[in-house]
Symmetry: C2
Subunit: 425 residues, 2 copies
């Protein structure tokens, strides 16, 4: 089914890319219509525009608005083959990727673009109680818990229970945590006011819990302060220096205090996918695969890593952050570099160009950091919306998301407030 | 939480409506801003535009495009209270509805609008293997099975297994079965051709299995023949006089022949919700509650039934069909009738006005039966699309669905081809 096998090495080199996120897709596209045979392996059938996943979790968008089948995205490239499968390991000596159905996929070059996961710091049993925000399933689960909590509160006669159900705890003060906390606050405030006769807006609480002493540490101080003040102004309670000690069915224990909650979301700590274990090499900080300035994994021949799962250093020796734009630039670079490599030419080294870092905090409020200059407030929010619509995968999705955003902006109503039946964690 | 209780009967009569489908919602809306207190009870938080549910199952639309929170739909009426709960029974003697959390909801009038379910004719164990098409969860399940079967077939080396995986069996030749069979055929044909390198369109099969000797029996003969010929022309195999004898993991046994299939969908036989058991009365054919010409349930005081769950007779003594337009007209009528009743006035009797019966068969093909005249083909299809967009619940959904339909018509690509993770049956 693929062009190469180990006995009869073909004229066309075979590049296998594991993971179809921002990095993997960018790499595959760059290799589209090249002289290489490319196989993209992912355990899901769709790629996901993760920056807007929090909007699925808060009932503003539908999953299909921000996800597309990988086959559709790459369908135009005849040299790219898509495989939906789980990777079980790598046989680096014979250059083969091992799949869960026993298939061995031989490669001339292997690109690891398997992304990252949230870090539960040794408490993986918390995952079911406090899902992260990495997959459509998790977004749907969070949406279900948020909406079900309102319904249960409406039917409760116990004011303490009602208040507990209407409390959401978001763990982690990074961009995902901040975006989610702001959106949950807006969802709750408006929905309770309009649709729930027996509930009071005063009972709605959103707590943002951060282990460090600041939120949004990747941004300059004055933007951090702006976000902090904005969140407090819309009623999000921010707990800094707050360590999560336990998560159970009733809520979260933080610094010895138990916070009862109807919904808990995890957005703290990032750890790389466990790809390092496939090669039996020692991973770097956060489980990332150390790579050189051409994104080659140290010590393993013909294996490359990009995106959240790669530990790449900038010119000053600092690790590049786990951001979509880093993954995308690395994917594009690596696609070009591999083409050159298989033509027998030497590619240049990779260097990251910061295109600006952004987070949205609420209606009319976002922050942008372009390095030399920054932006905040309504204009930043408008720019954020423009950029994110532009980055969506095709014209149809751009149009659908724009319409839903305009409708939500005008009516303050969220369109996708569905409680799913039979959803298992 | 509600205006009435049995000790202190209020001035405002309290009407409880169970079920927020076409009938229940129409009744509630008619009673909006009236002098009655209204409580709408549903076990789901959303109402569903069921005529387009087959498009969710075949990856053309997202669930949120055709579903809306009941609270949102009825939010503008201050006299309507919405309760998300399961009904466990009725205490007809004291006029109270019993809910799953032990609450007793007293009523002055009770409207049963609980709809219908598919009839597995005593084989409820087939339900998990061959889901019907009544809920969003089932639509998502069917979508997942269809899409996963393609992925599995792509990875299989066994040509028999590949052919089995690419076979879909639709049971029941009514409108839902026909619409689904046509849509699955179009989805499969186009998707395989464009996105699956190892699969052949020739291996894609759709079988429509009907126990009777014709499909679409509610339509005039020439429209039946048109639909039959159209389906065969696009490659749907129609099996008439075919009795389902068994359903298992591998497929369906029909008239002694085992049809191996990657996806089986049930659309045969309709039975009313089990509301009759709440009253301990003998249900009519199909489990329906017999009602008089004012939609009062025979033998139970102050209880009314509408829609699929009611057995109402037309002027010639024939049962009215289980159709959305019947439910809607009954709901509107009953809302008006209840207002008159509580004003001490006598309402007229209900009579059904046929607004036309329709089914869509495929791209550019639909049928309409208006009684005196009929329509088929491209014009009927266009009219079908217009009518269904118009019937959607609000402007935003109309716009979103229109855009997706235009995009699909032009590109032949389906936008919502997501395989859900962790979906349980």
């Amino acid at each position: 089914m693929i062009d190469s096998d180990s006995n009869n090495r073909p004229a066309r080199p075979h590049i296998v890319i594991v993971g179809a996120g921002f990095g993997g897709l960018a790499c595959a596209r760059e290799l589209g219509r090249s002289d290489c045979a490319v196989t993209v392996v992912d355990r899901r059938n769709h790629n996901l525009f993760q920056p807007l996943l929090y909007q699925v979790a808060t009932a503003a968008l539908s999953p299909a608005d921000i996800a597309e089948p990988i086959r559709k995205t790459l369908g135009r490239y005849r040299n790219i083959h898509v495989v939906m499968a789980e990777v079980t390991g790598v046989d680096a000596a014979t250059h083969a990727l091992l799949l869960n159905d026993g298939e061995r996929l031989p490669y001339d070059a292997l690109v690891i673009a398997t992304g990252s996961d949230y870090n539960y710091f040794g408490h993986d049993e918390w995952r079911a109680l406090a899902p992260g925000l990495k997959t459509i399933h998790e977004a749907r689960l969070i949406r279900q818990r948020l909406l079900l909590a309102f319904e249960r509160a409406e039917r409760s006669d116990d004011s303490l229970e009602r208040r507990a159900l209407l409390t959401t705890v978001v763990i982690g003060g990074g961009p995902t945590g901040v975006e989610l906390a702001g959106a949950v606050r807006e969802l709750g405030h408006h929905t309770i006011k309009r649709d729930f006769r027996s509930l009071s807006v005063e009972d709605h609480r959103v707590l943002l819990v951060e282990a460090g002493n600041r939120i949004l540490t990747a941004f300059p101080d004055h933007l951090q302060r702006y976000a902090h003040d904005y969140l407090q102004a819309i009623g999000v309670e921010i707990r800094l220096n707050a360590r999560v000690e336990d998560v159970d069915r009733d809520g979260v224990t933080v610094n010895g205090e138990t916070l009862r909650a109807g919904c808990v979301v995890w957005g703290a700590g990032v750890k790389a996918s466990p790809a390092a274990s496939w090669f039996g090499i020692a991973p770097g900080p956060g489980g990332r695969l150390p790579v050189d300035d051409r994104l080659r994994v140290h010590g393993v021949e013909d294996v490359y890593a990009i995106g959240d799962t790669a530990l790449a250093l900038d010119s000053k020796g600092r690790p590049l952050p786990a951001l979509a734009q880093v993954a995308k630039q690395q994917g594009e670079y690596l696609g070009r570099a591999l083409k050159l490599t298989f033509q027998g030419r030497e590619p240049e080294t990779f260097s990251f160009r910061n295109r600006g870092n952004t987070a949205v905090i609420g209606r009319n409020a976002a922050i942008f950091d372009f390095g030399r200059w920054t932006l905040k407030g309504r204009l930043a929010w408008f720019l954020w919306a423009l950029v994110h619509v532009y980055l969506l995968i095709n014209f149809e999705k751009r149009l659908l998301v724009t319409i839903q955003w305009i409708s939500r902006y005008v009516t303050r109503q969220r369109g996708a407030r569905l409680i799913d039946e039979n959803l298992s964690p």
